[in-house]
Structures are given as C-alpha cells and as structure tokens.
C-alpha cells in the first residue's frame, strides 16, 4: 500500500494520506552536534521544505532554531514517524531524541 506524503501550505505541515499529521511550532530534542554546540538541540520546527521516506522512517527536512542557543538552519532530515504495515504512525516526538538521517544538507535555507 502506498502512502502519500506531502508538505503543504508554505511548509506549515506534513500531510500523510491527506491528513495533517505534523505541524510547525512543535519542539523537538535533536541530537545533532554539527548543528550547534548544545548537547541536545532544543529545536523549534518553523517550516518544512521536504519529506522523504527512508526505509520505514518518514523524515522531514525542517528549518528552525535551537531555542537554547539561537542557532538557526536545517539540522537534517528528521524522522517524525514511520510506516508500519502500510500505515503511517507518529513517533512520540515530545518524548524522544531525534537524530537526523544522513548529514546536515547545508546551511540556513530559510
């Protein structure tokens, strides 16, 4: 079964099978030592620019800011959910530490 993944409304949200599943303004803990010097990035998602399916993970390329140190940019493709038996499931994003899939794709894209 295919899963339709889209970023819509100027990067405001991730649509999965025509339902809004991830929104900007969420706060995530991210392990991304290349992004800033904080032990964990305290990351606010300000906008999504891309979505990818990587193995079972669904990851969004997200620009935002570490609200602890102020560094802003794109920490990489961040896994926000996964595909299980053809259905999308959210990760418990408030309570996990995310790790970007692959390296940081570049500087601030905003």
């Amino acid at each position: 079964m295919s899963v339709a993944l889209r970023i819509l409304d100027d990067g405001a949200w991730l649509s999965v099978n025509d339902q809004r599943r991830v929104s900007v303004s969420e706060l995530w803990r991210v392990y991304a030592p290349e992004f800033c010097e904080c032990a964990l990035v305290d990351f606010i998602a300000e906008g999504f620019t891309n979505v990818s399916a990587d193995g079972r993970d669904v990851a969004v390329t997200t620009y935002g800011q570490c609200i602890a140190c102020g560094e802003s940019g794109v920490p990489g493709r961040l896994p926000v959910g996964y595909i299980h038996k053809g259905e999308y499931r959210n990760y418990d994003r408030e309570n996990i530490v995310m790790q970007p899939i692959g390296g940081r794709p570049g500087g601030n894209q905003q």
Binding site: R6, I7, D9, D10, N17, Q19, E46, I67, G70, E87
Partner: protein
Amino acid sequence: MVDAETDCLQVGPLGECMPTDVENWKSEVYGNEIREHLMEFAEEGWESIPEDEHDAWFERFKWWGLYHQRNGQESYFMMRIGTPNGVLKPGQTEVVAEIADEYARGPAQNPEFGDGYVDWTTRQSIQLHWIKLEDIPEIFDKLEANGLSTQQACGDSWRNIVGNPMAGKAPEFVDAWPVIKELNETFKGDDDHANLPRKWKVSVTGSPDGSGQGDINDLALEPAYKEIDGEEVRGFNVRVGGGLSRKEPRLARDIDVFVRPENAADVAGGISALFREHGDREDRYNARIKFLVDEWGTEKMRRVLQEEFVDFELESAGEDIREQYTYNAGGEEHGDLIGVHEQRDGNYYVGLNVLVGRMGADDTLELAAIAEKYGSGEVRISQRQNVMITDIPEAALDDLLDEPLLADYSPDPHPFMRGSVACTGTEFCSLSIVETKNRQVRYARWLKENVELPDGVADFHIHLSGCTASCAQPQIADISLRGMKTRKNGEPVEALDIGLGGGLGENPQFADWVGQRVPADEVPGAIENLLATFEANREGGETFREFIARHDEAELEAFIEPEETSYTDPYMHNTKMTWYPYAEEDGMDASPAPTDGEGNSIDATPADD
C-alpha cells in the same frame, strides 16, 4: 512518490524532477472551473469529498477564497471576501455583517470577541471564520447578489488589489480608482491569469501619501509624472518584486517604466504574464516574483517585459513623488486615515480604529447603519485593519462623532490602540506558531494603562505576526513581533522575536530583528523599558525611527530588556497543540471537528499512534 536521496520535491519513475503536487492539481482543475466541484461537494456535504483528495481540493478551494482551518478544526473554513481597494459600496457592509452573524459562528467562543465576527485585513479584505462547506452556496448567492465575491481572494492568482482606500475621494496626484476597477474587472476570472506560479499581490496608489504600501507588493503602481511631447503626463512608475514572507523581505524594485493610466492594464497584464511564464513552478518556496527579480535583475525584467509581453514601446520611469510620502514614514504625521478628514468634494470621511481589525457582527451591522445614516452608506477598509465611513456632510459630523459605536471604535484612539496590527494566529491558522489577536489586544490595553509615551510620540506601530509569513506586516512597524517559542523555568512557552525600526515612506526600512525568543509575558515589559531608554537617550526631537537608525545592532540588542510586569498572558502554553486555544476543554481529543452541515460531530479520527 517521494525520494530520500534527492532534494527534489517530486521524483518521477526515471528519477526526473517532477512538478509539485500543487502544480499537478492546478493543471487538472483550477480557476473558475473549481466552483462547479465546490458546489457539488457543498450540496452533498463534507463527507462527499473523497478522503484521498482532501489536500488537492483544499488547495484548489483557496482560489475561491476558502482556506481550510487548521488541525483540530477540520471541515471549517476561513472565507475571504476580496474588496478591491477596500471599498464596500452602500449596502455591502450590512451584507457582510449578516453573513457573519448567520454563518460565522463556531463551536466555541473567543473570550475577547465572542463569536460571529468580521476581520478587516491588512490587504483591505474581509475574513470570516467557522464557515461550513454546506453553507457556501447560500453565502455565495448572498454575496454575489450584492456585488461581492470571494473569487481569487486566495490561491495562485491576482489577489485583492490594494491602495489608498480613499481613492476617488481624498486628494490624489493621479486618479487611481478607475485603474483599480479596470484591473480588478480584467484580471478577476481571466483564465489567462488564473493559474500563476504563486500569489500575485498588486498595489495601485494615486495619492501622494504612500498609503498604498506599494513597496511590499509583487507589483506596485506608484504616482509619478513625466514630460512627454512637451506636456506633463501623470501616471505611475512601476516597481516589481516586493514582499515580506519567509524571512526574505524585499522592497519592490524600480524597473524604469512609466505607465499612463490608460495603459496600466496592458503593462500590469504583461508583467503578470511574464510571471506566469518565467516564475518557478518546481519550487513553491522560490516561486514569488521577488526571487525572479533577484535572479534576473531589473534590467532583464524590463527587457523581457518589452520584448515578449507588451506590444508598444515602454516609457522610461517618470519623476516620482516619494518625498511627499507621510504614511508610516516615521515622522510626526499619522498618515493612517484615522480621524476626520475632508474629501475633495467638500464632504468628510471619518476613519475609525478597529483594534487588531476584528469587529463583532452586531457592531459591523451598526457600522453599516451609521454609514447609511450619516454618509452614502459606503465603508472603506485600510491596510492598518481599520475602517472609514465616507461622504459625510460637514453638518452631520458632530452627530456621527456622538454615536455610541465610536466609543469602542475611536476616531481619536490612544497611540497604542491605533498602532496595533495582528494577524489571525493559532486561533485558526496552520502556519502560525503563537496566539496573536487576543494577545495584541491585551498588550495594547496594558501599554495604554501603564506606559507613558515619550513627548511628541503620537504614532507608534506594533505589529504582531504569528510566523514568518508576515501577514501582520511586522517588518514595517516601529516594534515588530514575530511568533517563536522558548523555555521558561524549563517549560516550553510562546515567545516572540522583536524587531525595531521598520517603516515605509520615501526611504522604507525593514525592522532589524534584535530581540530573540522573548517569553510572551515579558514583551510588554521589554517595550516599556525600550521606550524609557528612548526617552532618556534621544537627541533633541529625534523620532523613534531615527533613534533606532542611529544605533548599531549590538546597541539595539542591549535596548531589549525583557521583564515580567503586572501584565498576565493566558496563552503561554502551546496554543497550536489545542483544537481551539480558548475552549474550556482545549485538547485535540476534545475537538468536535469535523462536523456536518448542522455542526454535529462526524467521527473521523485517524488511526494512530
């Protein structure tokens, strides 16, 4: 399909970069033809929209002024009514009020505004919320029977044309209203311009005050004159590529073209067609014409316009009158059209302050009645979210000014009330990061009660925008506020970035963002401290904008001193994670949405998590 190995948004079976989903949807059904489908869905009800076509149809519905409200409010729509140049003809304000009263009532109330309210917007349009799909045919019938429309109020085409709302009434260097009417009649519903790469915002101004805010539009026609064949001809200089969104603000750039009023539609249509053909349809983040102007430069813009899109010789730019601009120019003049002003026919107009642009349906009905009683019945909307009652004989002014409605919507408001602008925010909007309208109401009231403005400061703009889309136009305010988050005592709270020194006028300036992630409850204290610093350190009669311009970024950063005060903020929690920030039970699980045409819940909870 998505692809993990490339930045391409859509990758085809051979690895090629494909047009975006939005472009694909637009190529299938877009423009006027959307209406037929919309009406069928409305007739059949919310559940008739195939679940796997929601994204496509909600994107298309925008073209007809309908924006699906945010997560937790499924099946409800924001409806935008486009009123060219903010002009509501006699009788139309009453119609808007009646529609708001009957249809714009949701399942929960706003503590400041109740329900059933009208939002006057920064693009001189009207927004209503909690509109149900099933009610749209009746609403369209009523709007259109009274000369109003939602056509192209959102979506990738010609949006509502803005300008000085008093065009045709107040003194003007060149008559803008006939041009605005012609552009509106030509490009609303024109299939050749219905599907552009992105939104297309146009400003046409004939007045010498700069109040059309041309600098922040995709296309600006600004008053100018030129000697041609020995005669002074009045018309417009053309600027292209302004806009505020995405932390990428641009001022519209002079492409060295003067246009006579009778040629305005040809030139504006040529630039719109240039955008249609050359704008970026593969990357919506790069689609606005401001990025094309960045890439091409103004000389190429002019050359391609001349060679491919206009069949007469373009004239070089004329002399502008920007040195006369007073609107939001940082000086002592308000320039905001609030108060009593004489029209050029000897009658008067009275501009009323509408705090953050929101007016209850009852008050809107009363506004319509007063406009009818004392004036011609016409009402106009400004880009500062305020309204003007027009065509009032001098003899009727005193009675109008005694009307009880004007106690709440003052023609002589306190500067903090007068200067407040706010976008929709997390109450309804998918993009916003923080609550805005209610917060700005509370800020303005607290500042009015607790903070003395320095001597001579009568005009002071504070604009609060929930995100980088910048619908409240924060970059052109004295104090710019933009939604953010931070932690306070370890807990995530709503916060604001603070910018300083923005404004328009002859030499427009975007705000310098010097305050980062200030907890929302400490922003009023920061403003109080900033004004005290200004008062203690200003030189002579220096204006606030001059004071900010005199200091470098490090000095300005030091001026931002956040502080808790007696101000309290009920919206510090993550309002975006609620279904409605002011509901007693505000968790997503408590949302009644989606609902049917009667407002009864339909169970559509996604399988999760």
